[in-house]
């Protein structure tokens, strides 16, 4: 009668491992979601794909790094400073790179976004240096927690919880406040919004600020989870989160979160179940994108847009 007991233990082991992966997947997915929200909000308002969003994520991480490493601030203080700085930075970027082109053909503003992205990356190489920097992970984030037989880093638990909190807050802002109603109005019809007395520039700034704030938070958490910074660290996450936003239905905040989580879960699970494929983990995002676009071109939660007359 030894065999069943052994089987049971073996099952427990895989189940534990599975839970472990779930925690990992949720925290990675939440990070993707944070970044995807920024893409989707900006697209919703301006029909612009902000290619520099991934670089804003990078800047958020660097600012927090310098806060603790150079100015010896406590981690939470540099986190707050970084979030505020990055939000203002995002607003500034919009003013400089996008606002002057708002009435130009859509292609101009898109090229400006690509240019802004390259500029930020190269400025980062120039200012921060190309050599990767090791991040000192705060104790709370770096400690190993054990729940039952599942053990994980504090940061992996922290990320999904805070992301959920931010998501609830964001939904409340968008659906329950006048600024949110103004945002939705602008995203439906800019001209009419203006005539209803909405200051469109303010709404756009607010959107960029909010998106950059979430990106900064994501970048900092990313640097606690994978404690190494480099100037190009935002490129791949940025690309994937753009995909997440498209998969969820671009312009839809809930869709961005769903897309982000889905991407994180699939990425982790595929590597977990098919370790031999782990080299291709970045490719799955793109494969998923192709499949979703073939089956449902508007994304999972996207609605077909009626043509404007």
């Amino acid at each position: 009668m030894q065999v069943p007991a052994f089987e049971w233990i073996k099952n427990l082991m895989t189940f534990t491992l599975f839970l472990q992966h779930i925690v990992n997947a949720l925290s990675l997915g939440s990070l993707y979601a944070l970044l995807a929200i920024g893409y989707t909000m900006v697209y919703g308002i301006l029909r612009l794909i902000n290619f520099a969003h991934g670089d804003i994520f990078m800047i958020g991480a660097y600012v927090a790094f310098y806060g603790t490493a150079l100015f010896v601030l406590p981690w939470w203080a540099s986190l707050l400073i970084s979030i505020v700085f990055t939000a203002l930075f995002g607003i500034g970027l919009e003013r400089v790179a996008y606002k002057p082109l708002r009435d130009s053909p859509r292609i101009s503003i898109m090229i400006s976004a690509i240019g802004a992205s390259f500029l930020l990356e190269n400025l980062a190489v120039l200012i921060f240096g190309g050599r990767p920097k090791g991040v000192e992970v705060p104790k709370v984030m770096g400690q190993v927690l054990n729940i039952g037989s599942v053990s994980f880093l504090g940061v992996s638990l922290f990320i999904p919880i805070i992301t959920f909190g931010l998501f609830v807050l964001l939904m409340w802002i968008v659906n329950g406040t006048k600024t949110g109603i103004a945002m939705r109005a602008v995203s439906t019809d800019i001209e009419t919004s203006r005539l209803m007395g909405i200051d469109v520039n303010r709404v756009v700034s607010f959107t960029f600020g909010l998106g950059s704030l979430l990106a900064a938070f994501g970048g900092i958490m990313w640097s606690y989870k994978y404690p190494q910074l480099n100037p190009l660290m935002g490129v791949m996450p940025g690309l994937k989160c753009f995909i997440a936003a498209v998969i969820g239905g671009i312009g839809n905040i809930g869709g961005a979160v769903l897309g982000g989580l889905l991407l994180g879960i699939i990425e982790i699970m595929i590597v977990a179940f098919f370790p031999t494929l782990s080299g291709y983990r970045d490719a799955f995002a793109f494969i998923l994108l192709i499949i979703v676009l073939l089956v449902k071109p508007t994304g999972l939660l996207g609605k077909r847009q009626a043509e404007k007359v």
Binding site: I173, K178, A182, R184, A185, T188, T192, M196, G197, I198
Partner: protein, 260 residues
């Protein structure tokens, strides 16, 4: 007698070689209902677009209560007290009836993002007041029950009314209505005009309205301007406009004149 709410001086709007509005001089007194009529493509909507700041005029000036508002941004002009509706209804799709009105109420909630995000009591109070005001407006046009419905799911006539209510939510002193009776049958049009009349009295408004069909506005307007190819061809009270040979020729056409 009356003080002037809106006036324009030599207002012109050119698009490339096309002059859509040419040397428009209007003057609208407080609590008047003034019509702007003319055949299709006469430049009526363009005139509205210039007044509300959507276009910057090629020449001339717009005065609102003796202040030059030429070239001001649309949201600034709305803030000053000019609201408008559109010829082809432009409600916010995918927003509810109530939310559409709340967009208009946006101006009256002046608190910043900070207090909004922190949900301070003062902010909550203002927001609650805005909701109450919006509901009261909806009640006036019999849309209370539709408040939670998606705006674009309403029948056409109600969408028109909702657009007017949304404009009213910005607390205007001057309301510009762009073909409010478009797509309505004569009976509905007359009802609408009566409604506009009550609105004027109830909200102490001045109303400037575009209409394509002359008959509709005859009964409601104090005086009217007639545009043709951007040029003001007549101005006067409805009775004299109706008899003006220039108007009959250019606007009513031979058929309509014969029918009368």
């Amino acid at each position: 007698m009356t003080d002037i709410v809106l006036s324009t001086k030599g207002l012109s709007m050119r698009f490339g070689g096309l002059t859509a509005v040419s040397d428009l001089n209007i003057s609208i007194g407080k609590n008047e209902i003034v019509g702007l009529i003319g055949p299709n493509g006469a430049g009526k909507t363009t005139a509205f677009n210039v007044i509300t700041g959507m276009y910057r005029p090629s020449a001339g000036q717009v005065f609102y209560r003796d202040k030059d508002i030429t070239g001001s941004k649309p949201h600034v002009i709305t803030e000053k007290g000019i609201a408008r509706t559109f010829q082809n209804i432009r409600l916010f799709r995918s927003m509810t009836v109530l939310e559409n009105v709340l967009v208009g109420c946006n101006l009256s909630i002046s608190s910043g993002l900070f207090s909004a995000t922190l949900n301070l009591p003062a902010y909550r109070k203002k927001e609650a007041a805005a909701r109450e005001f919006a509901m009261a407006l909806l009640d006036k046009v019999g849309l209370t029950e539709a408040a939670g419905k998606e705006a674009t799911s309403l029948p056409y006539g109600q969408q028109r009314r909702l657009e007017i209510v949304r404009a009213l939510a910005t607390h205007p002193a001057l309301l510009l209505l762009d073909e409010p009776a478009a797509g309505m049958n004569p009976q509905e049009s007359l009802e609408l005009m009566a409604f506009i009349h009550t609105l004027r009295d109830e909200f102490d408004l001045t109303i400037f309205l575009i209409e394509h069909h002359m008959q509709v506005v005859m009964g409601v307007c104090d005086h009217m301007y007639v545009l043709d190819y951007g040029i003001t061809i007549a101005h006067g009270d409805p009775a004299s406009i109706q008899k003006d040979p220039k108007v009959i020729e250019a606007y009513l056409g031979v058929d309509d004149a014969g029918n009368k």
